[in-house]
């Protein structure tokens, strides 16, 4: 039986950026920008060390909604602004809230905060097919 989704429903996803995650993600994605994989390059660029690829954080938003709708093939859109870098050893908590359910499509807003409660994404929105 398909699950009955309602506006106001919530979901949570927690992900840790372990020390080597930017390097693992670089290998898998091809994004080898030195600011992601080399702490010295990140420091030279004024970032106080290396930072996780924003697209990996975006991938975690996709994981959050994919888990909620129980099928990654149903994810239809993901959109966000990267407002603060994610760094090695940060833990990010994603909290989603369904804002609309219409014509077999669900829309949710997602917040993403680090262990200090700071937002790492702004205006994150996901859409998924639930028909």
């Amino acid at each position: 039986m398909p699950r009955n989704y309602q506006p106001g429903d919530t979901f949570t996803h927690v992900r840790e950026c372990d020390r080597y995650r930017p390097i693992y993600y670089a290998g898998a994605s091809g994004d080898y920008n030195p600011i992601h994989i080399d702490p010295e390059a990140g420091t030279a660029a004024g970032l106080n060390g290396n930072i996780l690829q924003g697209l990996c954080t975006l991938g975690w938003v996709v994981e959050a909604i994919a888990g909620f709708v129980e099928d990654p093939g149903r994810v239809r859109r993901v959109k966000a602004r990267f407002s603060r870098p994610v760094r090695p050893e940060d833990t990010i908590t994603f909290q989603g809230r369904v804002t609309a359910v219409q014509d077999g499509r669900l829309t949710a807003e997602v917040s993403a905060t680090n262990q200090r409660g700071e937002d790492v994404l702004k205006g994150a929105v996901v859409e998924a097919f639930i028909g």
Binding site: R21, A28, E63, G73
Partner: protein, 159 residues
């Protein structure tokens, strides 16, 4: 960072990319938190859907086979964006670039063996608060000509 508006509309591509099953699995597991080792993308953490990495389970699933993690699309759809940022005409210092915003629309699932063709263009260039903004849009079509992924990519050039 002064950006010359004459480059708005500049096009990049087409870029062709064939989706390979192991590469899809590797990406899924790298995002999913696996720890890769020699010759293996690692063991899938419990929250990672079998539809993305277990061919047998995926066969019995809703898509009749393995599918790509949706944002696997960035692996090939990023090409026009990265080409624009590296375009000598724009004269951007790549070390000063950070990813500002991202919008991805997935119009269909992607499967191993799909051949994606991506094109893109510079949709906007502007300066705000002494930082430069480069906006690139992309479209990726599969081997049947169907539009599968639309992207809007935004870079910030710090100073």
């Amino acid at each position: 960072m002064a950006l010359d508006k004459q480059f708005i509309g500049r096009e990049y591509g087409p870029y062709r990319y064939t989706l390979g099953e192991e590469k899809m699995r590797e990406f899924t597991l790298a995002v999913g938190g696996a720890k890769p080792g020699a010759g293996t993308p690692g063991e899938p953490p419990a929250h990672v859907s079998p539809l993305l990495h277990d061919a047998r389970a995926a066969q019995a699933g809703p898509h009749g086979g393995l599918i790509a993690f949706p944002s696997f699309a960035v692996v090939f759809a990023i090409r026009p964006f990265s080409a624009a940022l590296a375009d000598p005409a724009l004269n951007i210092n790549l070390r000063m670039v950070v990813h500002g915003e991202q919008d991805l629309e997935f119009l269909d699932v992607m499967r191993p063996g799909d051949v994606m063709t991506t094109t893109g263009r510079i949709a906007d260039l502007y300066e705000r608060a002494r930082m430069g903004f480069v906006i690139v849009t992309s479209e990726s079509r599969n081997q049947h000509g169907a539009l599968v992924v639309k992207g809007t990519w935004s870079a910030i050039i710090r100073g």
